[in-house]
Each structure stands twice: as structure tokens, then as C-alpha cells.
């Protein structure tokens, strides 16, 4: 094996791994022990490899990803469990009732955690929703929500009060209604999009692990920056397509 051949072989060598067990690499390493030039090159090479490994391993995993994967899977499992039962109830009236029940009660008891709530609300924000009322008037929004028995006595953070409101919708969670109030951050939006900041308000009792106080809890859910907090008997979840720094401006 020539020195150049040894270098080519050692290009794949990572110190501290099982690479040294590869016969070709073992032979090249042995050659390096007897050749000072190759030994010097190998030393540099190992430092390069380590520097690159460090760079790759500096990729940080977003907070909450593990919990998100597990909670999503729990929801999916329950849906799969229920699918054959619904198929058995093929009678149209039963199916209709099941659909109506599912509309307001998407998840069976036990799924009333903040993580699942966050996921469901974020999915609504991301997957497209129809605004029940399009208006820039907060009073009209509160009135509409109150008429439809959705949370209307919410308290907006001072900064959020100044954001441009675009309307509202009423969503469902664990058989209770969720008020969804749509805002704009002020960033340019695509032509078909009217909002990029959404506030979800739900009764605190509907979440078994609701935030204990008004201390904001930040999390990235499905790429959406979110913050959750409790105030009074309500839980607030604010989400945006922008980053966490943006969302902080509205608290």
C-alpha cells in the first residue's frame, strides 16, 4: 500500500469508532505508525473529522418534539381503535350522530392534556379554517362569541390589544367551545391569507395539566411558535407562523 493509497483509505477513518476494525483501514493505520509523513497527515485528518462531527452534532432538536410525537401517536391509536366500531354502525342515523358527537368531542376522556390541545389548535391554524366572523372590531367579536356561548370574557395582553384583529371562529375541544381570535403580526402575508397570529381561549377546567399561572410557556408545535398561559378560569394559547421573538412582542 502506497502512502497515497493509505490516505485515500484513511479518509473514511473516524477515530474512536469501529472503523479501525476494517482490514484496509487497519493496514493503513499500521503503515502510519511507521511513516512519519503519513502519521502527521493522519493527525490532521483526525482533527478535521472531529471538527466536522462536532458541527453535525450541534444540530439542536426543538423542545417538545418527543412529547409531540408521543401525543400525536396516542391520538392516532385511539382513532384507529374506533374506526371499525364506526364501520359496524353503518346505519346512516347512527353515523350522523357519531359524526356530530365526534365534532365536539374529538378525543376520548384522558386526552385532555395541554400538549394534545396545542397540537389540535395548531393543526386548525395551519390546515385552513373558515372564519365565522370577519371583522376588525373587538366588540363585535366578543358579542358573537358570547351569543354562541364560546369564551368571550377573555383578557388580552396589552400588546395584543394593539394588534390588528381580523375576525374569529369557534372551535371544539373535549365537548367545550374554544374561541379562536385571528390577528395579523404586521408581516406581509400571501394573497389568500388574512391572519398569521391566532389566539385560542378555552375554559381551564377542560385541561388537566393547564398552565398553573400567567407565566408564559413557549413551545414550537408543528413549526408554529406558540405560547400558553393561564389567567383566571381560562387558558390562552397564542400561535404564529413567525418566530418566538415575534410572539413575545404581543405578550
Amino acid at each position: 500500500m502506497s502512502i497515497n493509497e493509505a490516505k485515500t483509505t484513511l479518509l473514511l477513518y473516524r477515530p474512536g469508532t469501529a472503523d479501525a476494525e476494517d482490514p484496509q483501514i487497519a493496514a493503513a493505520l499500521a503503515l502510519a505508525k511507521s511513516d512519519p509523513e503519513l502519521a502527521h497527515w493522519l493527525e490532521d485528518h483526525c482533527a478535521r473529522q472531529e471538527a466536522l462531527r462536532v458541527k453535525f452534532r450541534q444540530i439542536t432538536v426543538p423542545a417538545g418534539l418527543k412529547e409531540q410525537i408521543i401525543s400525536e401517536q396516542a391520538v392516532l391509536r385511539r382513532r384507529i381503535y374506533w374506526r371499525p366500531r364506526i364501520a359496524l354502525g353503518a346505519v346512516a342515523a347512527v353515523a350522523l350522530l357519531a359524526f356530530l358527537a365526534a365534532f365536539w368531542r374529538s378525543y376520548p376522556p384522558g386526552d385532555d392534556t395541554l400538549a394534545i390541545y396545542q397540537n389540535q389548535m395548531v393543526r386548525i391554524a395551519l390546515s385552513g379554517y373558515g372564519m365565522d366572523l370577519a371583522t376588525d372590531d373587538h366588540t363585535k367579536i366578543r358579542s358573537y362569541l358570547a351569543q354562541n356561548r364560546a369564551p368571550a370574557d377573555y383578557v388580552l395582553p396589552t400588546a395584543l390589544q394593539k394588534a390588528a384583529v381580523t375576525g374569529c371562529a369557534i372551535e371544539g375541544w373535549q365537548a367545550v367551545k374554544v374561541s379562536m381570535i385571528c390577528f395579523r403580526t404586521g408581516r406581509p402575508l400571501p394573497p389568500n391569507q388574512s391572519s398569521d397570529l391566532w389566539l385560542f381561549v378555552v375554559d381551564r377546567a377542560s385541561l388537566k395539566d393547564a398552565p398553573e399561572n400567567s407565566q408564559p410557556r413557549f413551545a414550537v408545535v408543528k413549526g408554529l411558535a406558540t405560547v400558553a398561559w393561564s389567567q383566571g378560569d381560562k387558558v390562552y394559547l397564542l400561535g404564529t407562523e413567525a418566530d418566538e421573538a415575534t410572539i413575545r412582542k404581543f405578550l
Binding site: H45, R48, I59, G223
Partner: protein
């Protein structure tokens, strides 16, 4: 049988390396999250078909890579690119120069490599996967993987050497 594998334990063990692999390929946090989540979703529905529980890691990485390629193929049609012969002598960047680059820059240079080199090089540096494991994950013969790794690593170092502050760092050649 792999269906005895506890889902939460599996997620806890592999979500970080899978996300890092996904991010090194996609360079986009939401896409990397989706790829990671989708991989476990596929495991939940098909993982029971895996007979050898020792292959779980390989299975997960293979699945994530397939999902990534599937998404990319939908987004654009890649032209078929012939593997170029590795130049006999290529510049090698110094360790200090590599350290001056941040992770985003290194990944940006990785993305400039031909597609066939990106996943092998990423697995090589990220996971300490053996050559056999990389070949198994990417479902490519071992000899081909070694060849791709060799060319991919040379090319990546060449690109890093060409970055600002790089050329004068070229200190040696193979």
C-alpha cells in the same frame, strides 16, 4: 419480533438522531420535525412487520430517508447525474478552518454536494454508523457506499476550503 418494542422508549431513544439526520438533509426545522414524526407514524402502523428487532435503528433511518426523497421528488425532478471521477488531488481544509464555520454553513455546503453523497456523509458524521449500517440504511452496496463517502468527504472539505477564509487554509493535498 419488533412489535414488542415500546413506542415511547423507541421515540425517546431515536427522535434526536432522526431529527438531526432529517435536518441535515432538509435544513428546515418544520420539515425535519415532520419527517421525524412521519417516521414514527409509519413505524406505528408498519413496525410490527419488522421481524428482527435489532434492525429497528436501520429501519427508522431508512424510512426517514425514503420519506425525504419522496418529498423531494414531488417538489422537483432531479436530473440523473453521473458520478464524477474523484480528482486524484483535492485541497483539504484545516481543522481550524472547519471550526470557524458554523453548523448552518457546513450543512449549506453539504447541500451543495450531489444528492447521492449527502445522506451517506451526514450519517457518517452524525451517527457514527458503521459502513455496513450506512449501506443498509441507504440500501446501497457496501463498495458503493465507501466510494460515495470518499468522494463526498473530499468534496465537502473542498467546498469548505473554498469558503471565505478557506483558500489560504488549504494546507495539504491527498
Amino acid at each position: 419480533m419488533a412489535d414488542n418494542v415500546d413506542f415511547e422508549s423507541l421515540v425517546a431513544q431515536y427522535y434526536e438522531p432522526l431529527y438531526q439526520f432529517a435536518f441535515s438533509l432538509a435544513r428546515d426545522e418544520p420539515e425535519a420535525c415532520d419527517l421525524t414524526q412521519q417516521t414514527f407514524c409509519i413505524w406505528a402502523s408498519k413496525g410490527h412487520q419488522l421481524r428482527d428487532a435489532s434492525k429497528v435503528k436501520t429501519w427508522l433511518f431508512t424510512t426517514l430517508h425514503r420519506e425525504f426523497l419522496g418529498i423531494r421528488r414531488k417538489q422537483t425532478r432531479f436530473p440523473q447525474v453521473e458520478l464524477e471521477q474523484a480528482a486524484p488531488e483535492l485541497p483539504v481544509v484545516s481543522p481550524a478552518a472547519i471550526s470557524r464555520h458554523d453548523t448552518a454553513q457546513v450543512l449549506a455546503e453539504l447541500a451543495r454536494l450531489d444528492e447521492v453523497y449527502q445522506a451517506p456523509v451526514s450519517l457518517f458524521y452524525l451517527q457514527d454508523c458503521s459502513y455496513n449500517e450506512i449501506a443498509e440504511i441507504l440500501q446501497v452496496p457496501l463498495g458503493t457506499i465507501k466510494s460515495r463517502l470518499s468522494r463526498g468527504i473530499r468534496r465537502l472539505q473542498e467546498l469548505l476550503a473554498d469558503k471565505p477564509g478557506g483558500p489560504h487554509e488549504k494546507q495539504t493535498t491527498l
